[in-house]
């Protein structure tokens, strides 16, 4: 059974969570899943080393894997939602098999599909994403439900050798859109230029 209302009372607010994670981390390579997490990451400041997805649902974690393997000396952060994560659950197994130590994944879990009318996701019922990640073999896994747990998890999210996964329970709320650039070629080129230099464009 789903619990439609439960997450409306969760204390963590997604925009404040993302701000706390990425603030001042100018070297972090960030992939954001489509929808709310793409707006979240942009609300913390649009930057060249953000790659906010506008589609490709279910692909954010796998994209982070390819990037992490290509850039083993840089921390790669995937920030995505519970619906997006659910569409690509197999990616946890794929990540665990290659086990890049520089990959950290945060799922902002509000237990709803935010972009389509706040329908309940499976995590509003019995599904436990941290449990899924653990069972798939992700090295470092945490469940974050409040500010104290977020404060304690930050070193793991940003520094601990991984792969790392955190399910961060955030309040179900409708927030203003903070839209990143929409042009995919532009997003790709600005990211590659910032990471690899002008000559790659």
């Amino acid at each position: 059974m789903t619990n439609q209302k439960r997450s409306e009372a969760y204390p963590l607010r997604r925009r404040q969570v993302v701000e706390q994670i990425v603030h001042g981390k100018e070297n972090l390579l960030v992939i954001a899943g489509l929808g709310s997490t793409a707006w979240d990451i942009t609300s913390a400041g649009d930057r060249d080393l953000n790659f906010p997805l506008w589609g490709a649902m279910g692909g954010a974690i796998a994209m982070g894997l390819g990037l992490a393997l290509a850039q083993p000396d840089r921390r790669v952060l995937v920030v995505t939602g519970d619906g997006e994560t659910l569409m690509g659950l197999g990616s946890f197994a794929t990540v665990a098999l290659r086990a890049p130590v520089n990959l950290s994944i945060c799922t902002f879990d509000n237990e709803h599909y935010g972009e389509t009318g706040m329908q309940s996701t499976h995590t509003s019922g019995e599904t436990d994403l941290a449990g899924v990640a653990t069972a798939c073999g992700i090295s470092v896994v945490g469940l974050v439900r409040n500010q104290a747990e977020l404060d304690a998890a930050l070193p793991d999210i940003l520094e601990t050798p991984g792969p790392v996964f955190h399910a961060i329970k955030v309040r179900a709320e409708n927030l203003d859109f903070v839209l990143p650039p929409k042009d995919g070629v532009h997003l790709k080129n600005r990211f590659r230029r910032a990471l690899l230099g002008d000559e790659v464009i």
Partner: protein, 168 residues
């Protein structure tokens, strides 16, 4: 040279460093060669669409990749192709065919008989290698198509190149 070795040499020649794959009998020797190659990272996927996203991430990070799969996996990729198409991420696919030639399993027919059509509608250019001698030049052309301009390109490897599967 065995046809799979021609693909392996083409991958090396093109400086492909990430090889994503879904296990496949036709690609078995090539996959083993990529796993054994210290310059390559072989990435075993749970579904082919993951590979599209993995290779897009690789390109963001400055690394070239390729995806090895079977024709039945093309259907799994259709929406994820939009990632490569919209952002013009290079995509090089090497697809062993099923449902095409002395196929034992009729459940392979629907995807096998429409693989190139599905790919073309999704914007992926296709070449088909029917004989071992075609494979090397076509593999090189497929990689060139992908990496010279951010295109999506697939080489279909005709089922007659593969051992006949009989379940006997």
């Amino acid at each position: 040279m065995d046809w799979w070795k021609q693909i392996y040499e083409a991958l090396r020649q093109a400086d492909v460093r990430q090889v994503a794959y879904v296990p496949d009998a036709g690609h078995a020797a090539l996959i083993d060669a990529c796993i054994a190659d210290a310059r390559m990272q072989a990435i075993s996927l749970t579904t082919e669409e993951e590979g599209i996203a993995v290779l897009s991430g690789a390109w963001l990070g400055g690394t070239r990749g390729a995806l090895l799969m079977q024709s039945s996996g093309v259907g799994n990729c259709i929406n994820m192709f939009s990632l490569a198409a919209t952002c013009r991420f290079p995509l090089a696919l090497f697809i062993t065919m099923r449902g095409q030639w002395h196929e034992f399993n009729p459940w392979q027919f629907p995807m096998g008989q429409a693989t190139d059509k599905h790919l073309n509608v999704a914007g992926v250019e296709t070449l088909t290698a029917d004989t071992p001698g075609d494979v090397g030049p076509m593999a090189a052309a497929t990689l060139h198509q992908a990496f010279s301009g951010g295109g999506m390109a697939a080489l279909l490897l005709h089922q007659k190149l593969m051992p006949v599967k009989t379940f006997e």
